[in-house]
């Protein structure tokens, strides 16, 4: 089994006719994703690649195709609106790849999601890939993945690929890999996903990749201590980052002396998590626990 998505998930792409949307939609099709629709306002009625019907609104796409998940490639100024449109259409999962969404827009979108069934992944993330069911909702290079029973949760895109690549090289396949994104305000977090992986009978161990800034890793550590029995290995990026400097991601900043890698590592170690000393040993750190 996998988390968030399964074999029956029917995927639509918001912003399917844009440059990034079109490129990655083809990649997702190549990975075997169950892609059923696209949405671009004003382009309803056309067909993407002569196959995938495009609609003006998410609600129409859902009604006509039974889509229950969405991947968003809409430009940043309009992306929060797209998230809310998908949630208003009651989709189960919404993955937002878009980078650079204003923080207050995300606060509004999160408030809009309250009480709704929709789970948001991202923004500013590589999305979800579930190799056992050949479903890719995002941009992870699927050729480095391998079906298996390890879960991956990460705040960073390319470090997710790094971890997947290391696992695959060790012969350890993945159940589901989820990039939660590098922004200060996003959707599902470490705690949500650790709970899902703990409950998933087909996931044997979990890799979590955090970075400096915020307190999500500390919250994860507290959760693991009380609720997670499966082995967890972690890497925290940014041990050498200077305070007060934004390290690429809007959320990766040590401010007011808080959010340092040292604090996060200490909290996770205290919760029994195996810390990978370098980014080159993430896969081996988990393998040592199995």
């Amino acid at each position: 089994m996998t988390i968030l998505v399964d074999k029956s998930t029917r995927v639509l792409v918001q912003g399917i006719t844009g440059g990034a949307g079109a490129f990655h939609t083809k990649q997702m099709m190549d990975a075997g994703t169950n892609l059923v629709a696209g949405v671009t306002p004003g382009k309803g009625g056309m067909k993407f690649e002569d196959r995938i019907p495009v609609f003006d609104t998410v609600a129409q796409a859902r009604e006509k195709t039974g889509a229950n998940a969405s991947v968003i490639f809409v430009p940043a100024p309009f992306a929060a609106d797209s998230i809310m449109e998908a949630a208003a259409a009651d989709l189960d999962v919404v993955v937002c790849i878009t980078e650079g969404i204003p923080t207050l827009d995300m606060i509004r979108a999160r408030a809009f999601l309250a009480g709704k069934r929709t789970r948001l992944v991202g923004p500013n993330c590589p999305g979800i890939i579930a190799p056992p069911v050949s479903q890719k909702l995002g941009i992870t290079p699927h050729r480095v993945t391998k079906p298996g029973d390890i879960g991956v949760i990460s705040r960073s895109g390319t470090l997710t690929y790094e971890a997947i690549g290391q696992l695959t090289a060790l012969g350890l396949g993945q159940s589901t890999c989820v990039g939660i994104g590098g922004d200060p305000v996003g959707g599902v977090d470490f705690v949500d996903l650790l709970g899902m992986f703990e409950r998933d009978p087909d996931t044997r161990g979990v890799i979590m990749i955090g970075e400096i800034g915020g307190a999500a890793e500390e919250a994860a550590a507290a959760f693991i201590k009380d609720n997670v029995k499966k082995p967890v290995a972690a890497f925290i990026a940014g041990r050498t980052a200077p305070p007060g400097k934004r390290m690429g991601h809007a959320g990766a900043i040590i401010s007011g002396g808080k959010g340092t890698a040292a604090e996060k590592v200490a909290a996770l170690e205290a919760a029994g998590v195996k810390i990978s000393p370098t980014p080159a040993e993430i896969g081996r750190s988990l393998a040592s626990l199995l």
């Binding site: 990034a20 490129f23 990655h24 940043a76 100024p77 980078e99 650079g100 969404i101 204003p102 923080t103 207050l104 827009d105 995300m106 606060i107 509004r108 999160r110 408030a111 590589p126 941009i139 290079p141 480095v144 990460s154 705040r155 960073s156 895109g157 390319t158 470090l159 690929y161 790094e162 690549g165 590098g182 200060p184 305000v185 990749i209 970075e211 400096i212 915020g214 307190a215 999500a216 919250a219 990026a237 940014g238 041990r239 050498t240 980052a241 200077p242 400097k245 934004r246 390290m247 690429g248 991601h249 809007a250 959320g251 990766a252 007011g256 002396g257 370098t278 980014p279 080159a280 040993e281």
Partner: protein
């Protein structure tokens, strides 16, 4: 993006938040002229001369002077303009002062603190207030956290009147000052949302002898992601406050942070870029920079990234660490080869490639005829770069 205090106060004025009468000055004569206008309008000889730099702690560093009359203003302005102001936030190298704010003096009865930030865990805007005005909020939070009052609000509702009243009473305000402080806090909240701020700090917010509630300082930063909604904001940018290399990189669409070491890094993705710095340090080296070329990089971007890395004379080796997802390895390899040929890179170049089209990428590097050290993983790449930098 950060702005100066005088620009922040102009913004506060627009939201009808009381600030002292004041004017920015870029030279001594302008400072004296501004002071005359203020003295006339307020019938008061007391003037505050404040250095305008983006860092805090200016008072302790000698960047703020309370003086009397024209002679006092002239002396203070001459002293502060052009001085190298060192505060705990500027680092030991300090910051040269090029702008002043000339302001009316105030009779202060109480100094309070009000600040607004995004609380990422609660996913709301948080207004913090404290009776310990003038002190750094981090210090208050560490020593006496019970003295910080907080209220969280949704951008859609703004700070509600009862929340602002709770805080005002909690600060020990009474009578007319309660409503005055409530108005200030609500306007600050409105301003935070309308202007897409990431930080608004008024430290101190003062109560004057006359019973007014006035913002004596204003520290404002904006969310860069929302710049598209505020096109006029660019004119508030002070280029002298920014690192020119970091600004150039930002204009080219990637992020760069200069460090003190000698190994130049070229990486795709913020997390991997941080991790690359970490692993260089782990194997005994020092990174010269954080550089994320981004997911959408092409051969041109890579070339420009190399130019920026090589503009740092301390760089003794370059480590290119790429896990191609959106960025294809063949595109990256072409960029690296092109840059190496065009610029005649003199320092050792270590390349680690993985991901989309990695085989074509490796072939391009191998067949380029250039001396490129290829690494099979990031651990090996980091060790090679550190050793080569030592040998250089």
């Amino acid at each position: 993006m950060k702005i100066h205090e005088y620009q922040g106060k102009e913004l506060l004025r627009r939201y009808k938040i009381p600030v002292p009468q004041g004017e920015a000055a870029f030279d001594v004569e302008a400072a004296v002229k501004a002071a005359h206008g203020i003295m006339e309008a307020t019938s008061n000889e007391t003037i505050v001369v404040k250095a305008q730099i983006h860092a805090g702690g200016r008072g302790k560093g000698g960047g703020v002077k309370v003086v009397k009359g024209e002679a006092g203003v002239r002396e203070a302005a001459s002293k502060i303009l052009g001085m190298n102001l060192v505060t705990h936030q500027t680092g030991p190298e300090g910051k040269k002062v090029g702008r002043l704010l000339i302001e009316q003096g105030m009779d202060i009865v109480r100094e309070l603190y009000v600040g607004l930030v995004v609380d990422r865990d609660k996913r709301r805007v948080c207004l913090m207030a404290s009776t310990e005005g003038g002190m750094e909020i981090e210090v208050v939070a560490a020593r006496t956290p019970e003295k910080i009052l907080k209220a969280w609000f949704d951008p859609a509702t703004g700070l509600l009147p009862f929340q602002a009243r709770d805080i005002a009473f909690g600060l020990g305000l009474a009578d007319k000052q309660v409503n005055k402080a409530v108005a200030v806090m609500q306007s600050l909240a409105t301003m935070f949302v309308k202007e897409d701020a990431s930080l608004v700090e008024v430290n101190p917010l003062v109560v004057t002898k006359a019973g007014d509630v006035i913002a004596l300082d204003a520290k404002v930063s904006f969310d860069d992601n929302a710049a598209f909604r505020h096109k006029d904001r660019e004119e508030m940018r002070d280029a002298t406050e920014e690192n020119p290399v970091e600004a150039e990189a930002a204009a080219l669409g990637f992020s760069y942070v200069g460090m003190d070491g000698d190994i130049g890094c070229c990486v795709n993705g913020a997390g991997l870029a941080m991790a690359t710095m970490d692993i260089i340090k782990h194997v005994g080296g020092e990174p010269a920079n954080f550089l994320d070329v981004g997911g959408g990089a092409d051969a041109q971007t890579v070339k420009k990234a190399f130019k920026i890395i090589l503009s740092d004379p301390r760089v003794k080796a370059i480590f290119v660490n790429i896990f191609g997802g959106i960025l294809r390895c063949d595109v990256l390899a072409e960029g690296v080869v092109g840059a190496a040929r065009e610029m005649g890179i003199k320092v050792p170049l270590v390349v680690r490639l993985e991901g989309t089209n990695v085989d074509i990428g490796r072939k391009i590097l191998a067949e380029s005829g250039l001396k490129i050290h290829t690494a099979k993983d990031m651990g090996e790449g980091a060790r090679m770069a550190v050793e080569l930098a030592r040998g250089a």
